[in-house]
Symmetry: C2
Subunit: 404 residues, 2 copies
């Protein structure tokens, strides 16, 4: 047999982060897993909704099962434009919208059309792991900006930009999940949002606003999407129906200035020709029949209860010296343990001896830090699993600390 | 407003081929278009089939609307393995199969994981335009091999390989659509298939076999897939349900040695996390209920009639000096006109004055030739449109020749 490994392109050395995946394969059977990122099954479409969707889709059968336009089905783009205006405070025309195959595709295309090797990309510390994976393939330099309870520290960002500027350097874009962030569940304050856009204008870079979770907010915070504050066409807005309708349809969308959206469309042509037409009709039906907005309050309530339960359990049970983010929404709690604990190193042990799993936080940091951090998902496990699982985790970490 | 064009990565200069797309936007209203690549609407799933599919999917609702594994749903991979064994003569286990978001994604990932800049990629002359687009992003060198009625000229390939070898050069992979080729509808003879694999072994390169059309064969030719002849794990096999079930579900699959399939899976993670679970269940239902094999004979018959009609019309009506491929299957006829005719230059004129459209063939050639060629689709237009459209095309080319 030929050794195909010899044919693999050099850039694949950037396709990493699979070590953790390999370990997580052991999280089976009795293991309670906080490692995933799945919605509660309760929040998926009901049987009635599926049947009503398929009645609708049958009517458009010749379109729904056929190829469709690369940029997306016009009726869906119009319906999303309406939804964004009514629910998200973003004014956009159908022409400024592109349908993507999940939001992950939007991240992949962003990397592909914006990143030249050694370009500077700015992210939060920590940030979404799969965004880092998508960007890294094109070998950028990263600048990570720490966060606190009000999101990315913009004063820190400003000093960094000033320092870069003095060296004649300029970032290509800043990637942020400003609302209900993944992995920390925090939101950027309004003051910082405005300040961030001022800096983007002053130092001339693009802001990529990733917004999958803002509709699942537990607290009564008024936030405006960066895109709605954008007066210069500088913000590229990404969102998805994965968390508000169903991940299984893989439908997301981009809102951006037409000049840049053309490049997204051009790239998408050679990536998948078009997003599944059937799935675009599923989403179109969900928007038109207002399934999403009717179900959202119950989803929010369910996630709020689970999040508060997990947070309370963590505060009560986990050993001293650990710190937990207090999410305003989203699907995750992020934790910082005693600095002597390496969460990646102990993961296999924790799974096998304590029957509980998490994602080590290091992969969420573009600067190589975060070895003592971890991300916990609270939406997929049941309340009982949250109670039992956090107990197991506490015991695991306690014993780990004793060993030191 | 900021000029976002300034931020676009250098590699996007390879995202071309849109000039023809722009012209084809004018192919509306009364224009008969042979430019597309869509199945006949008659060949899409029937309403009964859709309803029965959704009954099935409802039962698996919590899986079908949820995220699924990056490599694909196991039951579907097992069903595909069975189908490939029974219908395509390819023995593969579920572990050697990866589900992709349409076959286009397989091409995109192939480029991403195999091509380092300036690597040599070998293709047929002409070859599938969107494969060239996907590959070109990673800046390979191309070697185009001419075809005749028996497919790629392997004697020509052998001399080229020998010449390359003498210069110390080696191709990374050879991309071929050996059966019912796009754009020419031709098939590689069995002798040449064996010879090709011998050369692949001797000169040590990968063979990427793209096989979307082989199940839509009009003639009684016995061909074996290259993958079924592969004794060294050297062939990467790509196929899709777009032409045998429905393009709107965007489900394709790869069969390859596990050592390379791992890289496909790793790349897919950061591209779209997973292929739509709903759509995987649509296909799983179609395979299990044997919808595809029951419908295929009618599809083949329909396409055969249309293909023969178009070919007859072309032979009768088109001016002397033009030559047409005689497809054994697939969806397209390819044509060579008088060498003085530039099919791209006259396209706008032909659309606007003669109300008929085609794809200029130049973009199917990796060596810059083929300016006098064109591709015609016969599956989507009706028989009447084929008759009228070819008449219009003949008149257009005749008048063009008179101008010379």
């Amino acid at each position: 047999m030929v050794d195909l490994y010899n044919f693999i392109a050099k850039r694949t050395d950037r396709m990493k982060a699979s070590e953790v995946r390999e370990i997580l394969r052991y999280a089976k059977g009795d293991v309670i897993s906080f490692a995933g990122g799945l919605p509660d099954p309760y929040c998926l479409p009901s049987e009635d909704e599926i049947c009503s969707a398929i009645d609708y889709i049958s009517k458009f059968k010749e379109k729904a099962f056929q190829y469709s336009l690369t940029g997306g089905i016009l009726e869906l783009k119009e319906e999303i434009a309406k939804y964004c205006g009514e629910k998200l405070g973003i004014k956009a025309s159908a022409e400024e919208i592109l349908i993507t195959t999940g939001s992950q595709q939007a991240l992949d295309i962003t990397a592909r059309i914006l990143i030249d090797q050694r370009d500077y990309v700015i992210t939060e510390l920590p940030t979404y792991i799969a965004a880092i994976q998508a960007f890294s393939l094109f070998r950028p330099n990263y600048l990570g900006i720490p966060m606190d309870d009000e999101g990315m520290k913009i004063d820190y960002l400003e000093s960094s930009l000033r320092a870069m500027n003095e060296e004649g350097l300029k970032p290509k874009f800043l990637y942020t999940i400003p609302t209900c962030q993944n992995p920390a569940g925090l939101s950027m304050s309004m003051d910082r949002r405005r300040w961030l856009l001022e800096l983007a204008s002053k130092y001339d870079f693009i802001v990529v606003e990733d917004d999958p979770y803002s509709q699942i907010m537990f607290r009564d915070i008024q936030v405006k999407r960066l895109k709605s504050l954008d007066t210069e066409g500088r913000v590229v807005y990404l969102s998805t129906f994965s968390k508000i309708y169903a991940p299984g349809v893989r439908v997301g969308w981009i809102i951006a200035d037409k000049s840049i959206l053309n490049y997204y469309e051009l790239a998408k042509q050679s990536i998948d020709l078009c997003t599944s037409s059937v799935n675009q009709y599923f989403v179109l039906h969900a928007l038109q029949s207002r399934i999403i907005e009717k179900r959202l309050p119950a989803v929010i309530n369910k996630y709020k209860i689970k999040c508060e339960l997990m947070h309370k359990m963590l505060e009560e049970k986990m050993p001293e010296g650990s710190k937990w983010s207090n999410p305003v929404g989203g699907m995750f709690i992020f934790g910082w343990l005693d600095e002597r604990v390496n969460t990646k190193k102990i993961l296999m042990d924790v799974i096998q001896k304590y029957n509980v799993a998490y994602v080590p936080g290091g992969s969420f940091f573009v600067d190589g830090s975060g070895w003592n951090t971890l991300r916990l998902n609270f939406t997929f496990p049941t309340e009982q699993q949250i109670e039992v699982g956090v107990g197991r985790l506490a015991k695991a970490i306690e014993n780990e600390l004793k060993k030191l």
